[in-house]
């Protein structure tokens, strides 16, 4: 009891003084809201150190496309791939719904609405880039080079994000003003014109090219080379082959960049080689290493259902056969039997026995798996598609655990092979010899016979399919050359399986619908893309 009294007395005294202090001194200081475990946004945009952090933040925001979002992991980054004519959406799943044009058509369907993830994430990337670019002029830098690099990287991000948004959603709105509490509810009410969009893309990329170095010692950052490449892509979209050629040549002729000698190296390991132009970075178990994804799982079949075959990295890792190579793509690769891209380098065509204990009679480890015919009766066909359909291994983690569905490894976004093919396309009419040389550089590297006839659009289309399938560029490419409708109509899915997209496709589907929820926030007059109900 005594103790309590004592305690009470002490408390009483402190409290009394405290109360007195409270009334006398100002409450304002006491009621200050403080950040106790967070960094303030004000810090980010008011110092060189803050801006350095803010630029790194852009890379992470971009990476979220691959790892975070409202759809389960399998559908995150592969929706553009799923909407190309090179895929078969076999096992039911989000990606196959997109591939079959079940999703992405009706604005109200669950999957279509969820493409708002792309919209929101790229606009977030744009706003944070805007903030960095706007702040850079008011911050003191230790040296001009640092400022140029930071602003250059931010401008690359802004261009990359707007260019991607434009190619997906068409009716986009561009701004270079960072969002503030004061302007957050302003409604644009109308889309931006193509002149505005491309004006900004070009000026950002020109600035970035002028500001960035050819290489970086922090693999994964934007460089002068990746900015040139992006500029070439923008130019060819604008139907300016001469400008595209200049920028493609700039990269091709730079001594730091060359095609790696074999297709087996292109997607092996951490992708840190002379052909890589822009690579999204992951690292297992590292702070900032990012989360795992299920892309490889979607792209490979369930070969391990077959007796005598178990999960292995050599066979491609674990798969579900949600989004696999279709007949059209496989036939393109079959045209030249020596083409080694589908020999386990970019794509696996043959799965091999590897389970000693369960081998079927007469088979040895290393023998190709007996394949049910993809042209047989339904049951046999489905077994082929489910268990042994060739699959793309561009997202495989070579040092991963083959029994795990999820993997984590660097993701190739832009590489020199595409620059070559852009150059081949750009020189097609003006310099056929150069054009053929670029195309054949890609073919001979893959051990395919060099082409002898002059390059035409069909040759570009076919070579791009073989070389770049599943890297995310195909949908934009067929849209750019005006063949989206035709290609989907003729080739999506397989003749005998899951070709629903062929009957569902309509010309207006080359533009994704702007998510309804976003449209409502853009003002009553903001236009939905043509062909979709308002």
């Amino acid at each position: 009891m005594k103790n309590i009294k004592k305690l009470l007395k002490i408390r009483y005294a402190t409290v009394f003084m405290f109360a007195l202090f409270m009334t006398v001194s100002s409450c304002e200081e006491y009621l200050q809201d403080e950040l106790l475990s967070d960094i303030s946004v004000d810090f980010l945009y008011s110092s060189q150190e803050g801006l350095e952090n803010a630029v790194v933040g852009l890379y992470t925001i971009n990476r979220d496309i691959y790892t975070k979002g409202p759809l389960e992991n399998d559908a995150l980054a592969l929706v553009p791939q799923a909407r190309s004519e090179l895929v078969l959406g076999f096992t039911s799943g989000h990606l196959s719904f997109f591939a079959r044009l079940g999703w992405g058509v009706l604005q109200t369907s669950f999957g279509t609405r969820r493409t708002d993830h792309y919209w929101q994430n790229y606009y977030r990337l744009i706003d944070r880039s805007n903030a960095i670019i706007a702040a850079a002029d008011n911050v003191e830098f230790s040296d001009e080079a640092t400022k140029k690099r930071i602003v250059g990287e931010a401008k690359c991000w802004r261009a990359h994000a707007y260019f991607t948004l434009y190619r997906m959603f068409n009716n986009i709105f561009v701004t270079t003003t960072p969002t503030t509490p004061e302007n957050a509810f302003d409604k644009p009410n109308d889309k931006s014109s193509e002149a505005e969009i491309f004006g900004l893309l070009n000026s950002d990329l020109d600035d970035a090219i002028a500001s960035l170095d050819w290489t970086t010692n922090q693999f994964g950052r934007w460089t002068k080379a990746s900015a040139h490449h992006l500029k070439a892509k923008v130019a060819i979209w604008e139907k300016k082959p001469d400008i595209a050629a200049i920028h493609a040549d700039a990269v091709i002729n730079n001594s730091n960049y060359e095609l790696v000698p074999n297709t087996s190296i292109v997607f092996d390991g951490d992708l840190n080689h002379t052909e890589s132009l822009f690579v999204v970075q992951f690292e297992e178990d590292a702070i900032g290493g990012g989360d795992r994804n299920l892309m490889n799982f979607a792209l490979l079949p369930r070969y391990n259902d077959v007796d005598g075959v178990k999960l292995s990295i050599e066979n491609g890792g674990r798969g579900l056969s949600t989004l696999v190579m279709n007949e059209y793509l496989r036939n393109l690769l079959k045209e030249d039997p020596n083409d080694d891209r589908d020999d386990g380098n970019y794509y696996i065509t043959t799965y091999r026995y590897n389970d000693v204990d369960n081998l079927p009679p007469g088979k040895n480890v290393g023998d190709p798996v007996d394949s049910p015919s993809e042209f047989g009766p339904t049951k046999e066909r489905n077994e082929f598609y489910r268990n042994l359909n060739p699959g793309c291994i561009k997202f495989r983690q070579e040092d991963g655990d083959p029994t795990q569905a999820s993997m984590i490894s660097n993701i190739m976004v832009y590489r020199l092979a595409e620059t070559y093919l852009i150059a081949a396309e750009a020189y097609m009419l003006t310099n056929p010899g150069k054009s053929l040389g670029y195309l054949n550089a890609i073919r001979t590297r893959a051990k395919a016979a060099p082409r002898t006839a002059a390059v035409d659009m069909q040759a570009i289309m076919d070579e791009r399919a073989r070389e770049l399938a599943f890297e995310g560029q195909r949908f934009y490419f067929i849209k750019r050359i005006g063949k989206y409708f035709e290609q989907i109509k003729n080739y999506a899915g397989n003749d005998k399986s899951n070709n629903q997209a062929r009957s569902r496709v309509e010309p207006h589907l080359e533009n994704w619908p702007i998510p309804i929820a976003e449209l409502l926030l853009l003002g009553p007059d903001y236009p939905q893309n043509d062909g979709y109900p308002e």
Binding site: L8, A19, L35, L44, N53, G57, P181, Q218, F219, E518
Partner: protein, 998 residues
């Protein structure tokens, strides 16, 4: 083992407890007094009346026949006899058997009621205050105190949030006033704000009051806009030591009102779905089933997941309290132990609590109180989801030896056995709570007093999750995955309270209260995930080799400074006025908007004191009440007026690099208080000798400047910003009635009813107008002006398309027979009928009314209590009937609630045809009437008569059996209408218990 430790702890605690109780009993020469206590009105015996020797703590209570026998000091002269509801009498001791006639106290409303910063006579209550019958409330066996309030007071709605052991419920008083800033009422226990109502042990509660109108709430102002629940715990009384024990045990079982497909039915469902997807031609079983599924179909060995996953659960509670005291020191001390198994293996909850309330008088002017509450609890949660409904029955959960199989669908499949994961994981949360509340009272003059109230709370929770190397997320090269989290919560409160009651004269009573309060709350959270354990032996306590993801640390602090003043004025004991004003400053608001000012006024008129009613034979009580005032809400997280950058680290070439950016939330530098203005009109009455008492109330509350998480367009790069917008109105009517229908010697029957309505309406949002000048709704957020906050926006189910229907010319021209038909309300272009946004209707989810009826029968020592709870007209979305992921899609891949689906041979007009893709309008089937009527409590108890008690040497002995949720009538398909089928199921319980008083 754990239990043992607990008991050992208890032992230690007990020995300490008795040290506190140093009361001496003196032996003197004695005599015995006997007598009978009767009701003066009808000469009926009054059992349980208290008989005390005046000036001592010596006393007894009457038996069932009203008889008492008390041994008193030979010098004793006076007895005090009291009984609730009767006027207390003092009378001289006579040697002959005494007959004591007690008069009914006509003023039954004059129980003392706890209101903010003090208590007053019930008849003097001016605001809207509902008292809960604690006896009835604690009849529910749970640690979830919120559930005890369900149906106990009008205007109080309780929604089950988490039925797992140690789970919680949400309490909403008079409807939802706030969109985002929380609708939880403020919980005050013995004058101290509690952040969780479940932190008070039910056995310690002596009274619960609920403050519903602005005038009563204003005293708690800034956190009271959603109502206040005042809980008072038991305290020691002057008198001899009382020891009470209460123990019970409950068996919980599951009830459900739906069936799921068994194996054969599920196989047929898949065949039908595949057939529909294959142009009406059945596919071969070996095409659509996996090898293991085929085996299951052929052998008929299916898995009933619910049966293997769920088990009956047992719940046990012991509590013991000791109270007593002398003139200067009074102590109440209790310990209790509660343990509950969950229906799902590995889930469970146990808790030990200890409370001591001490009152110490130091001098005539100075007294102190110390209230100490200590709790330790352990909650075991099941790992992963508990989705035993959707998992296919074509599976093999156990191998031929009866051991669990890891992959119940075959070795090449990926889906794990849920029981496997439950076995291969632990998830436990250990919580320790320490509350210290010290109060000093100083009676400066007879009219002026000062009170210092100090409070310190520490809640420390440690969570450990471990997934072994056999668990689906700890296997492979993960080698065991653990998450360790700690959450420390600290709350401090200091209040300076001055009370001034000047004596003027009989006709004028004045009472001033001033309060200055400072409150600080701080939460510190740390979490780390690690992997790569050498073995599973040490669970999450082992050494790991790798850290997974980023360890997180989050520190949050909020402070509140308040000044409050209250004046109560009583004129002629007929007209009562209360005026309250307060100013609150909160850290969570923007720089220039920290302070909010909240005035309130209330008036009550005791009509029965007026001459025209004073002599009425019918009306004994009649009081009219009116109040109007403001309260504030600050229930948002701090930091929302500041720009917070999220950590976004990245790796370049494998090397970690720090990165940051603002992420989801845009700061709002103009954030301010949300204010609720409430009007309350009430009438309290008692008629026919107070046999029927009751309260009628009407209220209207308008909440403005709602703290709302407003959606930003994606083009802004942000998702939300906290914003003050709009206005929400709640209106409602409440009735509480209590009737003593029969009251005679052997038999008593009372009935209580309470009934409430609430209608909730959004009056305005951000004020922007569309082209036609109409205010714009927030469609994305589901907020529509003129509608309730809780709505479902849906098309209307109109049956199933049948063969022969004119589908081509309908609004669903692409539909096939067997698909869902919805009502085409209107079309923008009548030429092109279609189903679009214009065909959506809005349904209010809230009940039209809810209430409860309870009744008590007493016959001799028996008491039967029944309580029926009714929710009428509420609507909910049941994902198990309207979402393809939850098995409602009839796609044959997820199991679900069994329905009589459409087939071409057996066309249904209720449920669609199975198909490989879900019906586009499937969601309309999920919109379901969630009204229900439930017998929540049925309890039969017996109190032993005084003869038996004397023989046993006990003061009281009571045994009872209670059934909880015995009968439920509802159309909502679930284990319980308050929870969806996939969440932790709510149960039916059977309890037996015993109460002993010494």
């Amino acid at each position: 083992m754990k239990v043992k430790q607990h008991y050992q702890k208890m032992k230690v605690v007990f020995s300490l407890l008795f040290l506190f109780l140093s009361i001496t009993v003196m032996a003197q020469s004695q005599k015995t007094v006997t007598g009978t206590v009767l009701s003066a009105a009808d000469n009926m015996p009054l059992p349980g009346a208290t008989v005390i020797e005046k000036g001592t703590t010596n006393g007894t209570s009457t038996d069932f026949d009203g008889n008492f026998s008390l041994t008193v000091n030979s010098g004793a002269t006076t007895l005090i006899v009291s009984y609730i509801g009767y006027v207390t009498q003092e009378l001289a001791i006579s040697s002959a058997p005494m007959t004591v006639l007690l008069k009914v106290d006509e003023n039954v409303l004059d129980e003392v009621v706890v209101v903010g910063y003090g208590s007053i006579k019930k008849s003097d209550v001016v605001g809207s205050v509902a008292s809960v019958d604690v006896e009835e409330a604690v009849a529910i066996p749970t640690t979830n105190v919120s559930e005890m309030l369900r149906g106990r007071a009008a205007g109080v709605q309780v929604n089950l949030a988490d039925a797992r052991p140690g789970g919680s419920s949400n309490i909403i008083i008079r409807g939802k006033a706030s969109l985002d800033a929380g609708n939880d009422p403020l919980i005050i226990v013995d004058g101290i704000p509690y952040d969780s109502i479940n932190d008070v042990a039910p056995e310690d509660i002596t009274s619960i009051e609920i403050l519903k109108d602005a005038s009563s709430q204003a005293i708690y102002g800034s956190r009271a806009s959603n109502g206040v629940i005042l809980i008072t715990t038991k305290r020691g009384k002057e008198g001899k030591i009382n020891v009470n024990y209460h123990g019970y045990t409950t068996v919980q079982t599951l009830t459900r009102n739906f069936e799921i497909y068994d194996g054969a039915e599920f196989a047929q469902l898949r065949r039908e779905a595949q057939r529909t997807g294959n142009n009406n031609v059945y596919l071969d079983d070996d095409v659509i089933f996996e090898p293991l599924e085929l085996e299951s179909i052929q052998t008929g060995n299916y898995t009933d997941w619910e049966d293997i996953v769920l088990r009956d659960a047992l719940l046990t509670s012991h509590s013991l309290n000791v109270s007593g005291g002398g003139e200067n020191t009074k102590v109440f001390s209790s310990i209790s132990y509660f343990t509950q198994d969950g229906l799902i293996p590995s889930s469970g909850f146990d808790r030990g609590t200890f409370r001591t309330n001490i009152d110490q008088k130091i001098t005539d002017k100075f007294s102190v109180q110390a209230n100490i509450n200590f709790q330790t609890s352990n909650q075991d949660r099941e790992s992963n989801n508990i989705d035993f409904i959707n998992i296919s029955p074509l599976a093999k959960a156990f191998d031929d030896n009866g051991d669990l199989l890891q992959l119940p669908f075959g070795p090449t499949t990926t889906r794990f056995n849920p029981l496997w994961n439950i076995r291969e994981s632990v998830n436990e949360i250990k919580t320790r709570l320490t509350d210290i509340n010290l109060v000093g009272n100083y009676q400066i003059t007879s009219a002026l007093s000062y009170k210092l109230n100090t409070f310190l709370r520490h809640r420390n929770a440690d969570q450990g999750i471990y997934r072994t190397r056999l668990h689906s997320s700890g296997d492979g090269d993960v080698n065991g995955l653990a998450t360790l989290g700690t959450k420390n919560y600290r709350e401090q409160l200091i209040e300076n309270i001055i009370n001034y009651k000047p004596k003027i004269n009989e006709d004028h009573g004045l009472d001033f209260t001033f309060v200055h309060a400072i409150n600080e709350r701080r939460t510190e959270e740390t979490e780390i995930t690690k992997s790569g354990f050498a073995n599973d032996a040490l669970s999450f306590n082992g050494d790991a080799t790798a850290v997974v993801g980023e360890p997180t640390r989050d520190v949050e602090e909020r402070k509140l400074v308040s000044f409050m003043g209250r004046v109560r004025y009583n004129l002629l004991d007929k007209y009562l006025f209360t005026l309250t004003a307060r100013a609150d400053g909160s850290t969570v608001f923007a720089e220039n908007n920290k302070w909010g000012y909240f005035p309130a006024a209330a008036f009550a008129w005791k009509m029965h004191e007026e001459s025209f009613l004073k002599d009425s034979q019918v009306i004994n009580q009649m009081k009219f009440r009116l109040s109007y005032g403001d309260t504030g809400n600050e229930g948002i997280d701090p930091r929302q007026s500041l720009g917070v950058a999220g950590a976004l680290p990245y790796v370049f070439g494998g090397v970690s690099t720090g990165g940051f950016a603002g992420i989801e939330r845009l700061p709002n530098p103009n954030l301010k208080w949300e204010t609720t203005r409430a009007l309350n009109v009430g009438l309290d009455f008692g008629v026919i000798k107070n046999r029927l008492t009751g309260t009628l109330e009407y209220y209207k509350t308008n909440t403005t400047d709602l703290l709302f998480d407003r959606d930003l367009s994606g083009t802004s790069g942000y998702t939300v910003t906290r914003f003050n917008i709009g206005e929400v109105e709640n209106r409602g009517f409440e009735v509480s009635l209590n009737a003593k229908i029969i009251r005679n010697e052997d038999f008593r029957w009372t009935v209580g009813v309470n009934w409430s309505t609430n209608s909730n309406e959004i009056l305005s949002l951000d004020g922007t107008l569309d082209q036609d000048g109409n205010p714009i709704d927030f469609v994305n957020d589901g907020l529509f002006i003129g509608e309730s906050i809780d709505i479902i926006r849906t098309q209307i189910f109109d049956g199933i398309w049948q063969e022969g229907d004119d589908i081509a010319n309908s609004a669903q021209p692409d539909a096939m027979p067997g698909e869902i038909r919805v009502v085409n309300i209107t079309d923008e272009d009548p030429e092109v009928p279609n189903i679009g946004q214009e065909d959506l209707i809005i349904i209010d989810q809230n009940p039209d009314w809810y209430g409860s009826i309870n009744t008590t029968f007493e016959y001799k020592g028996f008491e039967l209590f029944a309580d029926v709870y009714i929710d009428h007209g509420s609507t909910r979305f049941n994902p198990y009937q309207g979402e393809s992921n939850s098995g409602a899609g009839l796609q044959g891949n997820a199991n679900g609630i069994k329905v009589d689906y459409y087939t071409p041979e057996n066309p249904s007009n209720q449920f669609p045809r199975p198909n490989v893709t879900a019906d586009p309008f499937l969601r309309v089937l999920g919109v379901a009437d969630a009204s229900y009527v439930r017998l929540r409590t049925l309890s039969l108890g017996y109190s032993f008569s005084s003869d038996v008690l004397t023989r046993l040497g006990l003061r009281s002995l009571n045994v009872y059996a209670t059934g909880t949720n015995l009968i439920t009538s509802t159309d909502y398909k679930s284990y319980s209408p308050e929870t969806n089928p996939g969440s932790f199921p709510d149960t039916k319980g059977l309890t037996v218990g015993i109460k002993i008083g010494i």
